[in-house]
Structures are given as structure tokens and as C-alpha cells.
């Protein structure tokens, strides 16, 4: 192992281990939870989804591997360009995208038959862009005008474009950017000021949207929030109810791998509610384990920020880590009914193409940054980062 790490897998070993563990869990959980799908569409051929997910995971590991070899500096000049691509892409999706649960989130890449969730591209680009802009304003603090035009407006634009199709992703991206700016030394009073403006805009938007109840998506949000707020045993609470049953029957040690029964009752047990299935099969221990893996990722990212002598890679690594970790938390929070139902996959664990691709890319970039960093630090005569966790 040590040799492999030293020779081929460079960068933070702990983060590599996180990637491997999450992939392994993903394979087990997806295989277990796709049973019903397999019977429904593939005549009981359960290995179909096993092989499919295995393929996805090998692909994603390749992505991580390649991304971690590419120097982060490559992204720096591209970030503005990526933003330029994201905006028309989002617009295109809004208008022509494939409808899934009445949310146009997906576009098909012609010829390849691959669907792409444009918000994944957009949030990735945005974090890159914000990291870049912030790194330009470290010596002299950013002033209000620059802040407004260079950061706030682009962020707002992306969020608003994501919002109609995917409310929770918009909020998630917004929070990530906010935290990134907070770490990136934007004045707190400016940040709070913009937060206030943003919140008011959002409130007005929701009020207006509620007037036009004809927009089906608005209706979905409304019922989801209503069913979250009411304690009634309603049909629309079915998912949450079944999710809680899964969690409750898991107990401390769980039912054991592949022994979930709730997978037959939970809608999307392989993506949105995969956390519930993991808790059911691996118990409280498994639940804490998953949380710990994401926490370790965040901790290692924070170490990169601490050690880094440059701002761009530090902010990029932290931003990407935040993106992953926050999304994981949203997925878990839905499973335990802390927030209304929303479809955020569990990064690197849930079944699915683009989400997996972008999570892997994010991991790869973080690893790339840590690789460069540790090399340099070695060069400076410092100790390499040790994995003690």
C-alpha cells in the first residue's frame, strides 16, 4: 500500500482512503437497494446494477486519478470561461431540458446518450470562479463595487438560474459561496448586507411564485414544506415515514449487509434515500462511520487551507470540500427528517452518473492541490502531511 501511495497515488493519503471507503460503501448499498428496480426492469437480474455501479465507480476512480495529476493551476485561467458556458447551459436546460418530476434539470448530450445535470456543471464552475476572484483581492480587501459586480451578481445569477428546477441545489450553492467569501476575507458587514438583500429577494420571489400556483414546481415545494411542517401521517409524508422506519429498525449494529427490507418501500432508495438504507443495514455505527468520512474530508481540506501559502488553491480546496460535505449533510438531514424532502444525492455513494463524475472531479482537484502543496512543503524542508486518522 505504502508504495502504491508513494508512487502512483499522490497527495493526501487520508483523502484517498475516504474516496476508497465511500466507493466501497456505495457499491454495497447500491447493489442492495436496487433489488426492486432490477426485478421491475431487468427480470430479477440484480447483477445488472452491481456491474453498472461498479463501472461507474471504476470510471470515477479514474476521474479522481486523472484530476489529481492535473495541476490546479490549469483551472485558473479557465474559470471565467466555465462560467460563461454554465449560464447558457442552465438557460438551455430550463427551456429544453428533460422533465423529471416536473423539474427540468437534465440535458442530453447529443450522440452519447448521456444526460447531464447542468446545475452540477454550474456549481462546480461557480466555486472555481469565486475562489479565483477572492484570491485576486487578498492584498487589498475587496471594495463594495468590486464585490457587487465581480462576485455577488454572478453568484446571484447562477443561483437564480438553478432555482426554478432545483431549489435545494440553489440554496446549497448559495451557502457554499457565502462560506467561501466568509473565509476569503470579505467584510462581514458587506456579507450580511447582501445576505439580507438576497433573503428579501427570495421572499418576494416565493410570494410571487405562490400567486402563480400553476407552476407545478412551486406546488411541489409547497406540499413538501407543508408535509414537513405538519405532523400528520399523510400520504405525502410517506417517504419520510418509511425512511424513519428504516433508520429505527437498523438499531445500533444494523440488520447486516443486503438485509434491508425498507428498500422495497422507499422511493429512490439508491439515491435520495440511500443514507436510510445504509443506516438500516449497518446501524448507528454505519451512520456515524459515513458522517466521519465526510468530516475527515472537511478536516483535511481545512488543514490544506491552514498550510497553504497561496490563496487560490486553499479556497478552491475548501470550497469543493464544502460543496461535497454540505450536499452530504442535506441528503442525511432529509433521511432523518430534519429538513423537507429534497433530492440531493449522497456524494460518491448514491447511484448516478453526473453527480458521481463531478464529486470525483472535486475529490481529484482537492487531491491535486494537496499533492502540489506537500511537494512544495517537502521542497521547503518541511514534514509531509501525515495520516494519523
Amino acid at each position: 500500500m505504502g508504495k502504491i501511495f508513494g508512487r502512483y497515488l499522490k497527495g493526501d493519503r487520508t483523502i484517498w482512503l475516504v474516496v476508497f471507503f465511500l466507493s466501497a460503501i456505495s457499491l454495497l448499498a447500491v447493489y442492495s437497494s436496487t433489488g426492486t428496480l432490477a426485478y421491475k426492469y431487468y427480470g430479477g437480474n440484480t447483477s445488472h446494477f452491481l456491474l453498472k455501479q461498479l463501472g461507474f465507480l471504476i470510471f470515477s476512480l479514474v476521474v479522481v486519478f486523472i484530476a489529481h495529476l492535473i495541476s490546479y493551476k490549469v483551472y485558473y485561467p479557465f474559470s471565467t470561461l466555465l462560467m460563461g458556458i454554465s449560464i447558457p447551459l442552465l438557460l438551455f436546460t430550463l427551456v429544453f431540458g428533460t422533465q423529471l418530476n416536473e423539474a427540468s434539470r437534465w440535458i442530453e448530450i447529443p450522440g452519447l446518450g448521456i444526460t447531464l445535470q447542468s446545475s452540477d456543471v454550474a456549481k462546480f464552475s461557480l466555486v472555481l470562479y469565486v475562489a479565483k476572484v477572492l484570491s485576486q483581492y487578498q492584498k487589498e480587501p475587496i471594495n463594495l463595487k468590486q464585490l457587487t459586480f465581480k462576485l455577488m451578481l454572478p453568484i446571484a445569477l447562477i443561483c437564480v438560474l438553478i432555482l426554478p428546477a432545483n431549489f435545494s441545489t440553489a440554496v446549497l450553492v448559495g451557502i457554499t459561496c457565502w462560506l467561501l467569501m466568509f473565509v476569503g476575507r470579505v467584510k462581514l458587514r458587506h456579507l450580511l448586507g447582501f445576505t439580507g438583500v438576497g433573503a428579501m429577494a427570495l421572499a418576494i420571489l416565493i410570494l410571487v411564485a405562490l400567486q402563480f400556483n400553476t407552476i407545478k414546481r412551486v406546488h411541489t415545494w409547497k406540499t413538501r414544506i407543508e408535509s414537513f411542517a405538519s405532523s400528520e401521517n399523510d400520504e405525502s409524508n410517506y417517504q419520510v415515514e418509511q425512511s424513519k422506519i428504516a433508520i429505527a429498525t437498523g438499531g445500533i449494529f444494523g440488520k447486516g449487509p443486503g438485509k434491508s427490507t425498507q428498500r422495497n418501500f422507499l422511493p429512490h432508495p439508491y439515491s435520495d434515500f440511500i443514507y436510510s438504507i445504509i443506516v438500516e443495514e449497518y446501524g448507528w455505527i454505519g451512520a456515524i462511520g459515513i458522517i466521519m468520512l465526510y468530516m475527515i474530508l472537511l478536516y483535511r481540506a481545512a488543514l490544506i487551507v491552514k498550510k497553504s501559502k497561496r490563496t487560490f488553491p486553499a479556497l478552491l480546496a475548501f470550497g469543493l470540500a464544502l460543496l461535497i460535505v454540505l450536499q452530504a449533510f442535506v441528503n442525511m438531514a432529509v433521511a432523518v427528517n430534519l429538513i423537507p424532502v429534497t433530492g440531493q444525492p449522497l456524494p460518491l455513494v448514491s447511484m448516478g452518473g453526473t453527480s458521481l463524475f463531478f464529486s470525483s472531479a472535486a475529490f481529484g482537484i482537492i487531491l491535486s492541490i494537496s499533492r502540489t502543496q506537500s511537494k512544495k512543503e517537502l521542497f521547503d524542508g518541511e514534514e509531509p502531511v501525515e495520516d494519523n486518522n
Binding site: 476575507r185 422506519i245 429505527a248 501559502k309 490563496t311 449533510f329
Partner: protein, 617 residues
């Protein structure tokens, strides 16, 4: 470049993240360990528990006549998801209800506790058999609907509503406190149905089926290994004589009050009439709620079980108790004479009717002389042996309570009241300590004042006298199921504090009250029967509601008592006018199963004594 500020800030960010995390972990722990609800629901996903409702036990009278049985009705269940659109009018016609009722049923369906469109929920309750047979033929046209048989009470004779009680659906409170009951189960709410709920209800069974994700039954779970069979409820054999009960209720029509008849040798209640009453079958089926409301708002309170809950002043019937206490305490001798010239004149005074004078104790009971018992009562309370009025009242009270007054007797019916026997502390509070004397409380001498008892207690008192000094706790159930034994407390003998020898003098007085020569002064000669020696005591008790209550209690035959009875008619007038003839008819009916005095019967049947409230004599 300085990253100092940055690091500070990133700790803030990490802090927030850790906080979010902790919330998730706590919530997980809550769902897994603290909240046990979801563990049970897990099984409900794959297993469907179909309850097998047992048949409720039957209730018989003392001669094996059926009082309460069961009939089958059906609840209409619906699995909302499976329902296809249908013609509401046709559906309503088929079920013999209005289209509005159908719509209303569907709207309220969703408000039910634990509603799910995948589960069978009750849409309409207690549909009669003929309607359901018609509907079943068409059931194939209505996917998602099914009929579930339930049994409800059927009353073979429309009597004894208060005593039998009624059955209804369990309330939320009971479900939360008793794991046996589930939503929609039936439970005894009052009367025998409540007391003997455990015996009558039997035990529910359950059939467990495997269901698929769409809640379709796939077959029995583990070949029915865990199924349990419903156990029928046990039958009750009561002590009631259905014919006597029915006759009593007939006599009490258009009168307010109560009749309680007891077999003194066993404490078995032969009849317990409360009037006004209602037909027990009103509280069965779909109209139950509506009928109940109507009964509840009736100004004559037909639901109120007067026999065990009404607190009446016992009036002159209580004189026998004071006589016995006086004899036991040596304050009065059977031949002690007092003269009476129209009343007791000390203090405020107590009036009396005209009779010969002077008289001894037996005659005083025969003629119900107020003056005599004022003397006796004051001598008890003021007996110098006790040292004080307070101690005197304590001695008196102890004796009174030994007759079953002032506390619940413990009959096998819910909500029995215990009546009131005033204590020293009561008077200390009412007047002030030392502010009262035997003269202040002189009303107790003639069963008035702060004294009150239920009709059951009065019947029990006369039963005690018939037994010459003891009683067995009155009870209504003789045997449960196949076992012949009932609660031991019903075969326990309760002795009074009065020696049995003294009873003969009192009984002599009660005998003479009924059976004296014409012109002898007996107050209850109207109750006399040629072949049966009835011993009785009248009472005419004053009350703040209007005309005096008419009271009479008696037992018969004198030498071998088979029935002890108390009759209480509210605001009717003299005890001898109404209560005594009613008791006499009841005794004759029970002992001879015939009525020899149709004129007396007619006189009672035709009397309407309802509207005498608020009028003074």
C-alpha cells in the same frame, strides 16, 4: 501573506458544520433509540394484521331468560388507492343512504387517525345485514371496498337499560392507556357492560397475512403459525328477575324514582328500576350518537341511574335505625313510652300527625311518630356516658355506618355513590365548634337534614332488618361463564353493631304498620296482602324541590324473608299513597307471580306524577 484572519474564520465555518453534524447524529439517535413508533410500523409494511373480533358474552336473567344477545352488522372498509370512479347515486341507493352521506364519509375518511390510502380504512360503520347482502352482490363493481363483520348488542327485552349499560367505541384515552384496545374496538361504557368488560369481551384474535408493496394479500404469514383465534366472551348469569324488572318499570312509568329489590339471604338484586328509563336498543347502531344526545338533553335525565346515584333523604324509614341504636345503647326500652300531642315542642319543634298517645317503641314505628324518635335521638346524642355531643354523634354515626350508609356498598356496577352520614367535623364546619347540639341536628331523628342515601342503600337496610342484623353486599351477577364462583366479597357477611335480639321489636313495628287492625293507626295498611305477611315502613321526605318524596321499604314474608324492597317516588306525596302500593304489587308479583288487586295496579299505572316538581304539598 497573512492568513491569520482566514484561519479564524475557517474555524467558525468548521464549528457550524460540526453543529449541523451533531444535529443529524442526535436526530438519528432519537429515531433509533428513543422513539419506538417506527419499529412497530416496520412490520406493518409487510404484514397485515386482520383482527378477528370475538362475539361478546350474552347476559341472562336469574331464570335463564335471555336479556342481551348480539347481532351482526358490517363495517364498510375502503382502500382509497384501489377505488375507481363510480356513480355516487347508485352507490348511495345500494347502501340505503343519501349521496350527501357518501360524500361526507369520503371527506371524513382522510381525517381519520393513521389514514393511509393504501390501508383498508372504515368508511361507513354498522350497516345492517340486509343492506350488506344486497351490496355484496354488487361488490365486484366496486374495487377497493370490502365488508367487515362486527357484532353489536341486541336486546331481547327492552328493560334494565341502566343496569345493563351500553357498548360503544373506545375513546382515545383508553387506547393510550390500555394496549388491548385499538381504534374502532368496542368497549362497555356503563353498567354491567363496563364492570364485566373483561369477561364479556373475550379475546380478540388476529390473522397475519403477508402483503406486497401494494398492500395486496399474498397469503397467510408462516402458514398461520402466529395467528391467534378469537376467544368468545363469557356469558353472564344475572340475579335479575326479568319479569319482575319489567313489571317494576311498567309501574314506574310517568313517575320519577327508583325501585330496588334484593333477596336478603343472598344479597342478590332481583330488580333495579330507575325511572324515567329508556329502551337500551336506542344506544346501538348508527343512530346511537343522535339518540344519546337526545337522552342527555332530556330534562328528566333518563340516563341518570337513580338507583345507585341519586342521594335522597331517607325520611321516616330511617326511624328504624334510630330505634335500633337506642335499643342497643340502652337509651330506650321496648316498653318505654312517650306521649305525643301533635309534635315535639322543644326548640324549633318537629310536627307530628294525630295518633293515640302515649305509645311504646313498636307502636311508634307502626304509626311513625316523630315525637318519639326526637326523644330517642336526643337521648342518644346527649347520653352522659359519652361525655359530649360530639362523642354522642360519633357513637351514633358508627352504628349508622354499620348499616351500609355513608359509604359505597360495592355493588358490581360502576359509578355507585356512597351517600352522606354527617360527622362532627361536618357540623363543626357548618356551624362552629361547640356551636351545635342535639337539638340543632334534630332532623336526623326522622331521617331528614344532612342525611342522604341511595335507593340501593335503603333496600340494603331493609334487607339487613329482614336478616336481623347482617347483609351480604348486593350484586347483580350470579355466575360468569362456566364457573359458579363470583367475587368472594359478595358472599361475605356484614354484621351491624346492633345485637340481633333488638331487631324483633322493630320488625314487630313494621309488621303492625302494614298489618294492624283497621283503625289501629298503621301507616302502610294499603300495602297489606291477605296471604303474605309484609313488614314495611313508610317515609314522606321533605325536600327542597317541591312536593314530598314518597318512600316505602319492606320485606316479606315476615318469618322467612325472600324479598326486601325499597321504593322511592320523587315529589309524589305521602309514602303510603304511592310508594307503599308499588312495593306491595312488586312483592306479590315476585312471590306469587300474579296480581290479586287489579284496582290497585290500575291506580298506579294510571298515575302521572311527573309534573309535581316545584309544587308544595
Amino acid at each position: 501573506m497573512s492568513l491569520k484572519l482566514q484561519t479564524d474564520r475557517h474555524f467558525v465555518v468548521s464549528g457550524i458544520v460540526v453543529l449541523v453534524l451533531l444535529t443529524i447524529v442526535i436526530k438519528l439517535f432519537y429515531i433509533q433509540v428513543i422513539d419506538s413508533r417506527y419499529k412497530f410500523s416496520a412490520q406493518n409494511n409487510v404484514l397485515r394484521y386482520v383482527t378477528q373480533y370475538p362475539v361478546r358474552g350474552l347476559i341472562y336473567d336469574r331464570n335463564g331468560k335471555l336479556l342481551v344477545s348480539n347481532k351482526v352488522v358490517y363495517d364498510l372498509l375502503v382502500v382509497k388507492r384501489l377505488v375507481k370512479s363510480f356513480d355516487t347515486t347508485e352507490f348511495a341507493n345500494l347502501l340505503d343512504i343519501s349521496t350527501d352521506q357518501v360524500r361526507e364519509a369520503f371527506t371524513s375518511l382522510k381525517k381519520q387517525r393513521g389514514y393511509s390510502s393504501r390501508k383498508a380504512m372504515v368508511l361507513l360503520k354498522q350497516l345492517p345485514v340486509d343492506v350488506c347482502n344486497r351490496f355484496r352482490e354488487q361488490l365486484f363493481r366496486y374495487p377497493g371496498f370490502e365488508l367487515q363483520p362486527r357484532t353489536v348488542r341486541k336486546y331481547e327485552r327492552h328493560i334494565a337499560a341502566h343496569m345493563l349499560g351500553y357498548v360503544g367505541e373506545v375513546d382515545e384515552n383508553t387506547i393510550n392507556n390500555n394496549s388491548y384496545y385499538q381504534l374502532g374496538d368496542y368497549i362497555g361504557i356503563s353498567g354491567l357492560e363496563k364492570t364485566y368488560e373483561k369477561e364479556l369481551r373475550g379475546k380478540k384474535g388476529v390473522n397475519i397475512y403477508m402483503v406486497d408493496v401494494h398492500n395486496r394479500i399474498k397469503g397467510p404469514y408462516e402458514n398461520g403459525k402466529f395467528d391467534s383465534v378469537a376467544v368468545e366472551g363469557k356469558n353472564l348469569e344475572t340475579t335479575i328477575d326479568a319479569d319482575l324488572q319489567e313489571y317494576g318499570e311498567k309501574l314506574m312509568v310517568n313517575k320519577i324514582g327508583s325501585i330496588v329489590a334484593i333477596d336478603p339471604k343472598t344479597g342478590e338484586v332481583l330488580a333495579m328500576v330507575t325511572s324515567p328509563s329508556y329502551d337500551p336498543s336506542l344506544l346501538v347502531g348508527r343512530e346511537r350518537a343522535q339518540n344519546f344526545m337526545q337522552l342527555q338533553t332530556d330534562s328528566l335525565k333518563p340516563i341518570f341511574n337513580r338507583s345507585i346515584m341519586a342521594l335522597y333523604p331517607p325520611g321516616s324509614t330511617f326511624k328504624v335505625v334510630n330505634a335500633l341504636i337506642g335499643l342497643q345503647e340502652g337509651i330506650v326500652h321496648p316498653y318505654t313510652q312517650y306521649s305525643c300531642a301533635g309534635g315535639y315542642t322543644v326548640g324549633r319543634g318537629v310536627g307530628c300527625h294525630i295518633h293515640r298517645s302515649p305509645i311504646n317503641l313498636t307502636e311508634a314505628i307502626e304509626m311513625s311518630c316523630n315525637t318519639y324518635f326526637c326523644h330517642v335521638f336526643r337521648n342518644i346524642i346527649d347520653n352522659p356516658e359519652y361525655g359530649s355531643v360530639e362523642e354522642g354523634l360519633n357513637v351514633w354515626r358508627k352504628h349508622v355506618e354499620s348499616f351500609g350508609y355513608g359509604h359505597k356498598l360495592g355493588i358490581d356496577l360502576p359509578n355507585e355513590l356512597g351517600g352522606i352520614v354527617p360527622s362532627t367535623s361536618f357540623y363543626d364546619k357548618y356551624f362552629r365548634k361547640g356551636g351545635w347540639s342535639s337539638l340543632t341536628i334534630i332532623s336526623l331523628a326522622i331521617g331528614q337534614g344532612e342525611l342522604s342515601a341511595t335507593p340501593l342503600q335503603m333496600a340494603n337496610l331493609v334487607s339487613t332488618i329482614a336478616n336481623r342484623g347482617y347483609y351480604l353486599t348486593p350484586h347483580i351477577v350470579k355466575s360468569i361463564g362456566d364457573s359458579l364462583s363470583i367475587d368472594e366479597k359478595f358472599s361475605q357477611m356484614h354484621r351491624t353493631t346492633i345485637d340481633s335480639v333488638w331487631y324483633n321489636y322493630v320488625i314487630e313495628g313494621m309488621d303492625m304498620a302494614v298489618n294492624c287492625e283497621p283503625g289501629g293507626g298503621g301507616t302502610a295498611r294499603i300495602a297489606a296482602l291477605p296471604n303474605i305477611r309484609i313488614c314495611g315502613k313508610t317515609g314522606t321526605s321533605q325536600n327542597p324541590h317541591g312536593k314530598d318524596h314518597s318512600v316505602f321499604f319492606a320485606f316479606a314474608p315476615k318469618d322467612d324473608p325472600k324479598i326486601a324492597i325499597s321504593v322511592y317516588v320523587e315529589n309524589a306525596g305521602f309514602g303510603a299513597t304511592w310508594a307503599a302500593p308499588i312495593a306491595s304489587l312488586m312483592i306479590e308479583k315476585y312471590l306469587t307471580d300474579s296480581i290479586s288487586r287489579p284496582y290497585l295496579e290500575n291506580y298506579i299505572l294510571q298515575a302521572n306524577l311527573l309534573n309535581r316538581r316545584g309544587k308544595t304539598k
